[in-house]
């Protein structure tokens, strides 16, 4: 598989390195290389890509400002000469963090990480069901029957059309197991089945009449994962 990628960095030498590394790596298709966030945004509005190599500190809008505006979330690899952005990187669900200057080997590691995560999603999507322990027994649930999952402290509730199941677990543990194409954590208390969304308005999702909040940081990824025509 070839990953479509874009570089955003105001520093020409840094861009040159990334362009060369992308060319050498082979499985990357360079869609564009931009020196500022604004120009990159215009391109990304009408071109969907897989990987965004993004500098943070740039004149004008910074890298995170660009992510805030995107309506979908590609895999983001931050390329910066500072290490101060760890918290923001976590908030924006960044795939990797390359501290400039970085070698070709380090670059390859980063791409391999993205590719592995991509493969994992594909494999897990192939499974159809799983078991949860509730009321003293194991119950089989089909992924496609779940509408959403709600966190209640040390418990989580799985909601289907007809009923809900309470089980002793945390949303974090569930999130790991539900990493498929269809499920996504949209808020610290909710994971939703993207196929069951009735509508999205401002910062909330409606599934089966239930209004579920979306975290501000997750909104771009939610919008990126639904099929907007």
């Amino acid at each position: 598989m070839k990953f479509k990628c874009v570089i955003v960095d105001d520093e020409p030498m840094a861009r040159s390195f990334l362009e060369r590394y992308c060319e050498k790596k082979g499985n990357l298709e360079m869609m564009g290389s931009f020196s500022d966030a604004e120009t990159a945004f215009h391109f990304l509005k009408s071109n969907e890509i897989d990987i965004l190599f993004l500098d943070v500190e740039m004149p004008g809008e910074n890298g995170f400002g660009l992510l805030d505006k995107l309506l979908y979330m590609p895999k983001v690899i931050l390329t910066t000469s500072k290490t101060d952005y760890a918290f923001d990187a976590f908030q924006y669900n960044v795939s990797d963090y390359l501290k400039k200057p970085f070698s070709f080997n380090r670059f390859q590691e980063s791409i391999n990480k993205v590719a592995e995560a991509n493969d994992k999603v594909k494999v897990e999507t192939a499974k159809e069901d799983f078991f949860i322990k509730t009321e003293g027994k194991f119950i089989r649930l089909n992924y496609q029957d779940i509408l959403y999952i709600e966190s209640l402290g040390d418990y989580v509730k799985y909601f289907t059309d007809s009923k809900f199941y309470l089980t002793h677990s945390t949303l974090k543990a569930v999130e790991e197991k539900m990493k498929t194409k269809y499920f996504m954590k949209v808020h610290r208390s909710y994971i939703v089945n993207l196929n069951k969304i009735k509508d999205i308005q401002d910062n909330s999702i409606v599934i089966n009449g239930k209004v579920i909040p979306i975290s501000k940081s997750m909104k771009p990824e939610v919008m990126g994962r639904i099929n907007v025509v």
Binding site: P101, S103, F104
Partner: protein, 130 residues
């Protein structure tokens, strides 16, 4: 890609350069050329910020320049720049950063001819292979 072995000048961080370019002499030549073209202008911008006493602007310019030095094997100047950038975050008084700024400028001025000479050697290497 030019794959003939090329040994970088030992006054530069040759080990680091080998890890960055992995024998890609054409790319090294392109980057060294960009440095020779751009670095004097970037240093001039920093000079102007220093003269105006605008510490935050100077910090931002140093931040941008920081990895640029490493791309041509001037990893020690990248460290100078790191220290200067950090100091800029702690003060708004330009006189507090004068010594660090001068150290960076002196190291830059001393190393520039080495980078220029290395660019010449890289170009020669490419020409020999054509």
């Amino acid at each position: 890609m030019n794959n003939l072995p090329f040994s970088f000048d030992k006054r530069l961080d040759s080990e680091f350069l080998q890890s960055m370019y992995e024998g890609d002499v054409e790319h090294a030549s392109m980057i060294f050329s960009l440095y020779v073209d751009m670095a004097p202008g970037l240093i001039k911008d920093i000079d102007e910020s220093f003269a105006l006493g605008t510490v935050e602007l100077l910090r931002s310019q140093v931040h941008k320049l920081k990895p640029t030095f490493s791309f041509v094997g001037l990893t020690k100047i990248t460290k100078n720049a790191e220290v200067l950038e950090e100091r800029c975050k702690e003060t708004s008084d330009i006189s507090d950063i004068k010594d660090l700024y001068n150290e960076l400028k002196n190291n830059y001025a001393q190393s520039f001819p080495i980078v220029e000479k290395e660019l010449g050697r890289l170009k020669n290497q490419i020409n020999q292979c054509v």
